[in-house]
Symmetry: C2
Subunit: 331 residues, 2 copies
């Protein structure tokens, strides 16, 4: 295992400290317990809080800021944060209109956010993301996994919250975006959890893992390596089988090609090229796009494709201003 680290036990705090220092104009880091908030506390809005195991950067800390999250709670690598983190974060950012947790559907995260929700002295609700169509249940999951589509949920709900919308409306929009979003990924290599020191799974030089999870969980099947068009065809077919878009009435989509960390941007754009042609051949119009490392899996080589069926409301909140470390436009 070759990584840029000092001691395995210090990775999280050293990385968070670097993140907070590099983006001191946007975020503040709290220690004991660990959470990050916006530099300037927002007022008169639902507080949007996410979190989960580390190793998926920029998810979630990179999405703190105007138009997106109020706070994020990072757990250790691939480990859920604990309820005291969510409670302290909620205390710090609650602005009188309640708290919305956005949680990826993994058993540990669900349990800990539920515990926090029960103890929270504020009105609260939770949006569970479950966009990964690869498998119904998984290593750490009952039901589908939440993966890169979570970024889209956080962006869209974060935008609505800035308008002063109430908790029920934010929760409803989050659930809607999740229901209209589907993702599937593929790995060319494993990731290596620093504390384990060896790859999470073995994969040969001519193999790929179709439907891999963002912690290296098994996907649908191990396959022989194929060309990009063939790989993308399988990913897009699985996504469209789930979303079942009606060409014409729901023809407008957002296409996210997400890198798991070790795949170069040059290849991600090549995947985008393949995916966009397939979606267009299905009668879909790609009116919004995002390409890059937005939900990663430590040092895994691989990528995922996410499609969201847009409507006027989702498009409007996708386009609205956002100012975070990792997403920034119309700022």
């Amino acid at each position: 295992m070759k990584k840029f680290i000092n001691n395995v036990d210090d990775i999280l705090i050293e990385s968070l400290s670097g993140f907070a220092a590099a983006h001191a104009d946007i975020v503040s880091l709290n220690l004991e317990p660990h959470f990050l908030t916006r530099k300037q506390k927002a007022e008169n809005k639902v507080a949007i809080i996410s979190g989960g195991g580390s190793g998926h950067e920029p998810l979630h800390s990179g999405y703190i800021g105007y138009g997106m999250l109020d706070a994020a709670c990072p757990g250790h690598v691939f480990t859920s944060p604990s309820p005291d983190q969510m409670l302290a974060a909620a205390e710090a950012v609650h602005a009188g209109k309640g708290v919305l947790f956005i949680v990826k559907n993994y058993a540990g995260d669900v349990m800990n956010f539920e515990m926090a929700a029960e103890m929270l002295p504020f009105e609260n609700a939770t949006v569970l993301t479950s966009d990964d169509v690869a498998v119904e249940n998984s290593t750490y999951t009952t039901g589908r996994r939440g993966v890169a589509g979570t970024v889209i949920v956080e962006k869209v709900v974060g935008s609505l919250a800035e308008t002063g919308a109430d908790l029920a409306a934010c929760k409803a929009l989050g659930d809607k975006v999740n229901s209209r979003t589907a993702s599937m990924g593929v790995a060319l290599t494993s990731c290596t959890v620093p504390a384990a020191g060896r790859p999470t799974f073995d994969i040969g030089d001519t193999e790929l893992e179709m439907g891999v999870g963002i912690h290296g969980e098994p996907g649908r099947r191990r396959e022989a390596m194929r060309n990009a068009d063939a790989i993308v065809a399988d990913l897009v077919a699985a996504i469209l089988e789930d979303l079942k878009p009606t060409p014409g009435s729901e023809s407008e989509v957002l296409l996210l090609v997400n890198g798991f960390a070790a795949t170069p941007l040059m290849e991600l754009y090549l995947l985008y090229n393949s995916a966009s042609k397939l979606l267009q051949a299905h009668g879909l119009v790609i009116s919004r796009s995002l390409v890059g490392n937005y939900t990663t899996a430590l040092d895994m080589a691989g990528a995922s494709i996410t499609v969201t069926l847009l409507d006027d409301e989702i498009r409007q909140h996708w386009d609205s201003p956002v100012h975070t470390a990792a997403l920034r436009w119309q700022c």
Copy 2:
């Protein structure tokens, strides 16, 4: 070699097509010869054009747009673009105030941009970037290599050009930024050029290449893997030995921690944490920061550190609005 590609010969055009489609609001792609320009041609400014071999994305295409480049000329992977690309790009974006080429110092790029400059029917000048302090001459270089500091030159000069400044002023500022910028990188793995199909160099599981170039060129020495603080100490020492900042009078710096592609953001922020402490211990104030994959080396695991000595002029042009695929703020 596992990469997301179809045929090796089609990588560049498929990736460029995906890039242009994903960012159709910002860029236009021209085929035969290949170059990319801003979607909306800028008027009444010096045209800023860069280019070089592909495989360093988002450099340079990702920096086309308001406040930065007018056009970029991508060569094949790690191969200089040809003069016909620069000439056609210049023809497309020239707006009556001359053309400034920003060129990384590699023999092939220098030769081809020089040929284009000689044939160009417009007033023109060239800024050569040479920020890599690792080695004086290198595999493809007479003199120092141009690496990630090129992004800072492109941002700052691009901003000045938007003000309507003349060619001489743009050239002078570019040279100044280059002279106040120093970088050095380290590789944990090799990169693999698709057409070669095997790693550019061999490196052991417990080794690193200190001072590596962005094409996998040899650096200063092959070393045993060490912890992040020790690696960063060597990079920062080499940079400061070159820049020789005078604490107090030149105490304000921009710190860029750049990933070569396969190194996770979590580790890049950890490197930032190490580097920022060292720079502060040297009496420097880090007033601007950038962390991410901004100048990559295909699929190499590794990172570089870049420091620019700021002054009021450079800081102002760093902070000014920019709207490109890969850098966007105050947009």
